[in-house]
Symmetry: C2
Subunit: 334 residues, 2 copies
């Protein structure tokens, strides 16, 4: 048994994380290369955002799905870069739409470079993502990711329409976050299977895994805005409240509230007539009805569905990181 | 000779315009169908813009190029709809970036529905355009149009960078309008040849035809902002001046100006310190040096190049509309 064989027998787990880390590094290289080929301002804005969000969650889905089907070629790397570009483009446009000033503790691009540059840089990243996809020559992956891109904007529109409506139904909320967040998670995973020539069943399983992970991810994200314990997410706590955003904590709080509390939600979130200590009062109602716990339970059921979907894949060493990713997403701090 | 044969012998020209008109109607149907499948607000915004810009110039390039190579299938229709979607998406984002209030005499979408909705609707149209392209199964057409989309945003960025710089060189200006306008004209024409299985030579000729037509088109557009004679373009005359936009009339006026006039341009366009009658004075300088005539001459040389490129195509009845389109673009009023 030579050294390499020994290593692969004895330290499977670290090997895998090494392989995925290497692939993610290649994704970052691809991203930086593409940005450097554009104009200096686009490159600056792109790098600012790419550096700010460190997780590369969506690319990781693409890469891991392709890796467990033995595709370590440049194709999954390019698709993973494309997926991150789509995500980054939506972040840029989101921050313009929301007039956000902070993202992950840093200033947003619209604050540093202005709305114009943010809109255009988002457009560039979006166009560039399609160029990357074209290079993989997979019309099927292109179709899935173009579809997800449409859904994202539909979801953002629907999100605008449920804003300032604390009496929104759960079903409507799940539809919104399904489109605006979970579809891209699903498509990222599915495209990894497509490019690695997986079966239709595996494609569906990958989509289901990613989609439900995305739902849970968004719920945890929404919770963060109402957490009293310290978190390092870098969002301004209470931002969603200030804007009257309709997220799961609000919907569940509304469902649980008595008439007087409902009046409070209508004044603060619907009419946006907010005064001092309103946010503290909101937190008190949320605590009173155990809303955070209720939200986490719902996120957990989505994670369960996500994990079930993994059964359709062969037992390879890449299954564990996918399981871990699902389980960790419930306890993430950023 | 039966009736149909008679008709095709005697009224060739009107037949052709009938064929193209029918195809354009199918493009409009395709566009409306796609919009109706999205959310009501996206559909409204999309239709507002699609109805406002009536020319369908870019789709016409795709359709005519495909038709002269005998492709009347749904593929060119879908590509033509995709091209119009890309164009419309850039208009929506442009108006947000420029904070425009009027386009072709009507209110802009950002004024009616707000910046948020305009940004998102643009994103939707862009994503939808790629779905249409995927349906044609032509990776080559996808590649060309994705490339053009990247160039458009690069061009918009470079346009931002030459703003308020009346001493910009012609070369730099041509690079900007090449990217932001002419590339999509070129790609629209080229993709029509690609989908109809034309040769590489024909692809290049179509691109050259479209690209140079696009350059001329943008110059005529830039002139409109400084025309004293009434025009029906629906732009607010003097808007470019107010914003200090660097367009060909300004670049040529700067080249011709004496020291005192250059001071005027620096104050009004660079420092944006504008007062009453400044626009009238600008028009006077432009008249003094025959700038509009000079601009038209430059546009004409581009049209000549455009027409030369048509030589690489067979002598079909579709050549005349392409020739006409080029010639008419110099005298367009909107």
């Amino acid at each position: 048994m030579n050294d390499i064989e020994k290593k692969s027998k004895t330290s499977g787990a670290s090997d895998i994380s090494e392989i995925l880390k290497n692939s993610l590094n290649k994704v970052d290289e691809e991203i930086i290369n593409r940005l450097n080929k554009s104009t200096p301002l686009i490159a600056d804005i792109g790098k600012h955002l790419i550096n700010a969000s460190g997780k590369r969650l969506r690319p990781l889905l693409t890469l891991t799905m392709a890796a467990q089907l033995n595709d370590y070629s440049m194709n999954p790397i390019k698709l993973a870069a494309a997926v991150e570009f789509i995500h980054t483009a939506t972040l840029l446009h989101d921050d313009v739409v929301d007039e956000s000033e902070l993202r992950r503790g840093g200033k947003t691009a619209n604050i540093i470079w202005g709305n114009e540059a943010s809109v255009l840089a988002g457009d560039f990243l979006f166009a560039q993502s399609f160029q990357l996809m074209v290079e993989t020559k997979s019309l099927e992956a292109l179709s899935v990711l173009a579809g997800a891109s449409c859904k994202i904007t539909e979801g953002e529109f629907q999100q605008m329409q449920i804003a300032n409506k604390p009496d929104t139904s759960r079903i409507e909320y799940f539809e919104v976050i399904g489109k605006k967040t979970a579809e891209l998670f699903g498509a990222s995973a599915q495209s990894g299977v497509i490019i690695a020539n997986g079966t239709i069943k595996q494609q569906k399983a990958a989509y289901d895994y990613g989609f439900h992970l995305g739902l849970a991810f968004q719920i945890i994200d929404d919770i963060m805005d109402y957490l009293t314990e310290p978190n390092i997410m870098g969002k301004n706590i209470g931002d969603d409240f200030k804007l009257g955003k309709t997220t799961l904590p609000i919907i569940l709080a509304w469902e649980n509230s008595d008439a007087r509390e409902k009046e409070f939600w209508i004044r603060t979130l619907q009419k946006l007539e907010q005064k001092e200590l309103d946010f503290e009062n909101a937190l008190n109602i949320i605590k009173k009805y155990n809303i955070i716990e209720q939200c986490k339970n719902i996120a957990e059921t989505f994670i369960d569905t996500s994990i079930c979907a993994l059964e359709f894949f062969p037992e390879t060493k890449f299954k564990k990181p996918l399981l871990d990713l699902a389980n960790q997403s419930l306890n993430r701090k950023k």
